[in-house]
């Protein structure tokens, strides 16, 4: 065991762990985060994704001691109490089924839009390809990424976003 310092969602933590422990377990079990989840432990599915300095990384195959930089988990995606445009698009499009994979879907989509604010269909498919969903919500994920890209660009240009329209329906508790 040794002390490892982690910067997660804007807060610095010191944890006393075996530094070879995959980051996933430290985030979940020591820091109590619920966004990154175990899906394969092999780097194959994306369920455990976190952003490190904006890059989507698979925390199940990363040693905690390697996790240098600012870590953002799903919990840290909203800013100042406002949902990330992707999270809003996910609600507007009613994307998830079980939702278990959507930590990875959202964070990989965030990393994509940060690199490429207006991706084509082909670019979305390529960038998201390694992030698996066994409920097969892919079609709506892709629609939601496009919706978020549009609303972000529209907001940047000062015109109203289309994502407000869906708020009226139903009552999220």
């Amino acid at each position: 065991m040794s002390i490892v310092t982690l910067n997660v969602n804007g807060t610095t933590h010191e944890v006393d762990v075996d530094p070879s422990t995959p980051l996933l377990y430290v985030l979940r079990n020591d820091l109590g985060l619920k966004g990154p989840r175990f899906g394969c432990g092999l780097g194959q599915c994306g369920t455990c994704t976190v952003l490190i300095d904006g890059v989507a990384m698979r925390s199940c195959v990363m040693r905690t001691s390697q996790a240098r930089g600012e870590i953002t988990t799903l919990e840290g995606l909203s800013k100042n109490g406002n949902l990330d445009p992707l999270q809003q698009a996910w609600i507007d499009e009613q994307v998830p089924q079980c939702g278990f994979c959507h930590n990875g879907q959202l964070l990989n989509a965030r990393a994509l839009l940060d690199r490429n604010p207006d991706p084509s269909d082909a670019e979305i498919r390529e960038a998201m390809d390694g992030t698996l969903c066994r409920c097969m919500t892919y079609y709506r994920i892709q629609a939601a990424i496009k919706r978020a890209a549009r609303s972000t660009m529209a907001a940047a240009q000062g015109s109203p976003t289309e994502s407000t329209e869906a708020q009226v329906k139903g009552a999220a508790e």
């Binding site: 075996d18 422990t21 995959p22 377990y25 979940r28 079990n29 020591d30 109590g32 985060l33 619920k34 966004g35 989840r37 175990f38 899906g39 394969c40 432990g41 092999l42 194959q44 599915c45 369920t47 988990t73 799903l74 919990e75 995606l77 949902l83 999270q87 996910w90 609600i91 009613q94 994307v95 998830p96 089924q97 079980c98 939702g99 278990f100 994979c101 959507h102 930590n103 959202l106 269909d121 979305i124 498919r125 998201m128 992030t131 698996l132 969903c133 066994r134 409920c135 097969m136 919500t137 892919y138 079609y139 709506r140 892709q142 869906a166 329906k169 139903g170 009552a171 999220a172 508790e173």
Partner: protein, 804 residues
């Protein structure tokens, strides 16, 4: 060692909001009712409250008490308690819509608790797509009864007869004098209804009130957003995998290295040096390691030295040998042939006889998150935090397995990765309970990826032989269907003697389950028919990773693949358009009590219309294909490797009708298949939430597309070799169709009738899809693929063999 964790306040609040059981407990205590102990004990602090409230015993919630289903709070909101679970298809939202309508309360003033065996009535959990169709009815009747009772109370309070009252948003008003009103909360908020319901079983539960006619439903039919989605996208939801308890430890299973291996010995010293190591627990061939921390348990499971003796005989043939094995095996059971007309004479007199064989491999659930559960044995009770879709069965099964009274066991159902039948036999729940019972500490178990892919329950493999006779005009005069399913010893629902841990411990029932080989679900009029179905067994029946269990309409996709592929083959032989051929077969059949014939015709027509289907026989002519694709790509007529085609398939699942159309692009140089467009027409009667339904239909289709294009459990003669996402690929983003159209059909002959019933929708769209893809590939290429998955190597080999 910090394995416990205080949940952040915001999460605690969020949990409390969606699990307001603490207030229910307080309410019950305040009203002097039998105290239901322990609210959400995962929340530190809540346990202390629970201890005050009383611990240990969890009697069955009485489904004949209105209070078990509905609580009106002092703030004029309501909580509904139902014995169901929601695998992410939005059934929870639909339950709230239905119950809000019947109770006459605003939807957003309600909340819902599902599947908690200590505080929700036992409706069996989920399965068979009958959440809305069957289990929604008692919910509606009970909510209607609550409304009736509240109106009677209001009549007394307001001094006006019920007939002169109206009710809206949980407020009762005198029609003639709106100033006189009383809220539900003023009538019963924080108090018990204490109203006895009627009904010989939970499905029949109801009171004196009738449910509302369709026209009076306000929320039913609206696309309300699912209440569970925000917490799933902002990271605030606490899933079953997230629960942490004081003193909790981590377990991992150690499975036999080859199927049927017997444990000879364990060298515990091989893991004794691992920090945090607590214990190896083994019984029979079941082995688990337990450590303080999760990563320690992972390491211990990998490092443990155990000696295993392989079985004397191969447990199963290799996956490439499977279908020869199935065809050559002696069945364990055969159903009596169903015979209509005189098939032998009809075949003898037929103008042409067509025959074909189809095979479907084992396909697994392979949930994105492997099996998991947390069991807490403190205070002489056993609480299991689980995503078991049939939480009540888990409770009963665990009590029996551990030999403790069921009143000491409760299951707290929480969200988890997709279920689709997997958690109907919740292996991890039993394992966690067993280990916690042994250790006397809360134990969380988590299966690994390879364990889940190799050892989860499988959809049965099938071999089919079909034979059809056409007359000179191309009409089907005879059809013979033979199905063989590898389904012997199909695992039951959370049975204490068939879950995996029981099998590995050598605890098993006297007789394996008989299993099932299914027959087609179509409304076709074929005058002479013989239908045979047989079950076969693999050599190793127990402790096998090739256990069959329920996978999203357990037999439907396999059977419909074979049958609807064969109908297409007959249409091709008859040179008929595949849609018209089906409509002709439907036209002559008899109607049934839920109008499945009329609704089938409406659905097939609606799919064809939505697709803009052009009437012609399949396959598409090579010239037409070249013209179109070269026109699209701008390349010369010989250059485009892409062949396009479309295929239809139709079936029903129980009372719900579905027709799917797939449009494919097949690359004849690589064999790669892309399903570019999907259409589903779907009639499930009364629609509760159109958008939620549409999503479920889309995902049901894509789940089957994954089975059509990718999924196959592979194994050698010792073990399953499909162990991860490389050796067991699944549908990916790049496979997603460009367009998916869902058409919600109401094909009832009296579509506006006031008692239109809702039918199940979790599986129907999943069922016809594999056949639609196979039919589309045939339309594009002229090559008939009779065994999924249609991975490119298999497609290319077939194209080469046919010189396409």
């Amino acid at each position: 060692m910090s394995t416990t964790l205080k949940l952040p306040k915001a999460m605690e609040d969020a949990l409390h909001r969606i699990n307001p059981s603490a207030s229910r407990r307080d309410f019950l205590r305040a009203s002097g009712a039998l105290v239901v102990s322990a609210g959400f004990s995962a929340i530190p602090g809540a346990r202390a409250i629970a201890a005050v409230a009383g611990t240990g015993l969890y009697p069955d919630p009485d489904f004949l008490q209105l209070d078990t289903w509905i609580v009106i709070h002092p703030d004029n909101t309501a909580t509904f308690f139902v014995g169901k679970t929601d695998g992410g298809q939005g059934t929870g939202t639909a339950f709230r819509q239905m119950m809000s309508d019947e109770l006459d309360i605003a939807y957003d003033k309600t909340s819902l608790i599902m599947g908690r065996t200590d505080i929700t009535p036992d409706q069996g959990g989920s399965g068979g797509s009958d959440a809305i169709e069957r289990d929604g009815l008692p919910m509606r009747r009970v909510a209607a009864e609550a409304r009736r009772v509240l109106l009677e109370m209001a009549a007394e309070q307001l001094g006006a007869p019920v007939a002169q009252l109206k009710v809206k948003n949980a407020t009762v008003t005198v029609s003639s004098d709106p100033a006189r009103s009383v809220t539900y909360a003023e009538l019963v908020g924080g108090k018990r209804f204490d109203v006895k319901l009627a009904g010989g079983n939970v499905d029949a539960t109801g009171g004196m009130a009738d449910i509302k006619p369709v026209d009076d439903l306000q929320y039913v039919g609206q696309s309300l957003q699912r209440y569970d989605i925000p917490a799933k996208v902002d990271g605030s939801l606490t899933w079953a995998v997230d629960v942490k308890l004081p003193g909790m430890v981590h377990a991992r299973n150690v499975r036999p290295p080859v199927a049927g291996a017997a444990l000879r010995g364990i060298d515990e010293s091989s893991v004794a040096d691992i920090p945090g190591f607590i214990r190896v627990v083994s019984r029979g061939n079941y082995v688990a390691v337990i450590c303080e921390r999760e990563e320690q348990a992972i390491r211990a499971a990998q490092q443990l030295k155990a000696e295993w003796a392989p079985p004397a005989d191969a447990p199963f043939p290799a996956s490439e040998e499977l279908f020869d094995y199935i065809r050559g095996a002696t069945p364990t059971s055969s159903s009596d042939p169903e015979i209509e007309g005189d098939p032998d004479a009809a075949f003898a007199g037929a103008d042409r006889v067509i025959e074909a064989e189809y095979d479907v491999p084992f396909q697994g659930h392979t949930a994105i998150g492997p099996a998991h559960a947390l069991a807490d044995p403190s205070d002489g009770q056993m609480t299991i935090y689980s995503n078991d879709m049939k939480s009540y069965g888990l409770r009963n099964g665990v009590a029996e397995f551990l030999g403790i009274p069921r009143e000491q066991v409760r299951v707290i159902y929480m969200d988890g990765p997709q279920v689709y039948g997997r958690t109907a036999a919740d292996d991890a729940g039993f394992e966690a309970a067993f280990l916690a019972h042994e250790l006397g500490r809360p134990v969380r178990i988590q299966w690994t990826r390879d364990e889940e892919t190799a050892w989860d329950t499988k959809g049965p493999a099938y071999s089919f032989s079909l034979r059809g006779g056409l007359d000179a005009r191309g009409r089907v005069v005879a059809l013979e269907y033979d199905a063989r399913a590898v389904d012997y010893n199909h695992v039951g629902y959370n049975e204490a003697d068939t879950v995996l841990i029981a099998q590995l411990m050598g605890r098993r029932p006297a007789e394996p389950a008989r299993g099932n080989a299914a027959t087609p679900a179509v409304m076709y009029a074929i005058p002479n028919r013989r239908t045979n179905s047989q079950v076969v067994a693999l050599p190793m029946v127990w402790e096998t990773p090739l256990r069959t269990g329920n996978l999203r309409d357990p037999n439907g996709p396999q059977v419909t693949f074979a049958y609807e592929s064969f109908i297409d083959e007959l249409a091709t032989a008859a040179r008929a358009d595949p849609v018209q051929f089906r409509l002709d077969l439907l036209a002559g059949s008899n109607e049934d009590d839920v109008f499945r014939r009329a609704r089938s015709i409406a659905v097939v027509r609606a799919a064809a219309k939505a697709y803009n289907w052009d009437e012609r026989p399949s396959p598409r002519s090579r010239d037409a294909n070249r013209r179109q694709t070269s026109g699209q790509s701008g390349a010369g007529p010989e250059e485009s490797p892409i062949l396009t085609g479309r295929g239809i398939s139709y079936t029903f699942r129980s009372r719900t009708i579905a027709a799917a159309i797939a449009e494919v692009e097949v690359n004849r140089q690589t064999g790669h298949v892309w399903v570019k467009r999907l259409v589903c027409a779907h009639d499930c009667g009364l629609v509760i939430n159109p958008e939620g339904l549409q999503r479920t239909i889309e995902c049901g289709m894509l789940h089957a597309l994954s089975r059509a294009l990718w999924e196959e459990v592979q194994f050698d003669r010792e073990k399953v070799t499909s162990v991860d996402w490389l050796s067991h690929p699944s549908l990916r983003h790049s496979d997603t169709p460009e367009t998916i159209d869902v058409v919600l059909v109401n094909g009832d002959p009296d579509p506006d009738r006031s008692d239109l019933a809702p039918y199940g929708a979790g599986e129907a769209s999943h069922k016809p899809l594999i056949a639609a893809v196979a039919n589309a590939i045939h339309d594009a290429t002229g090559v008939r693929l009779r065994r999924p998955p249609f991975r490119k190597e298999r497609v290319l080999a077939a194209l080469r063999a046919a010189e396409v």
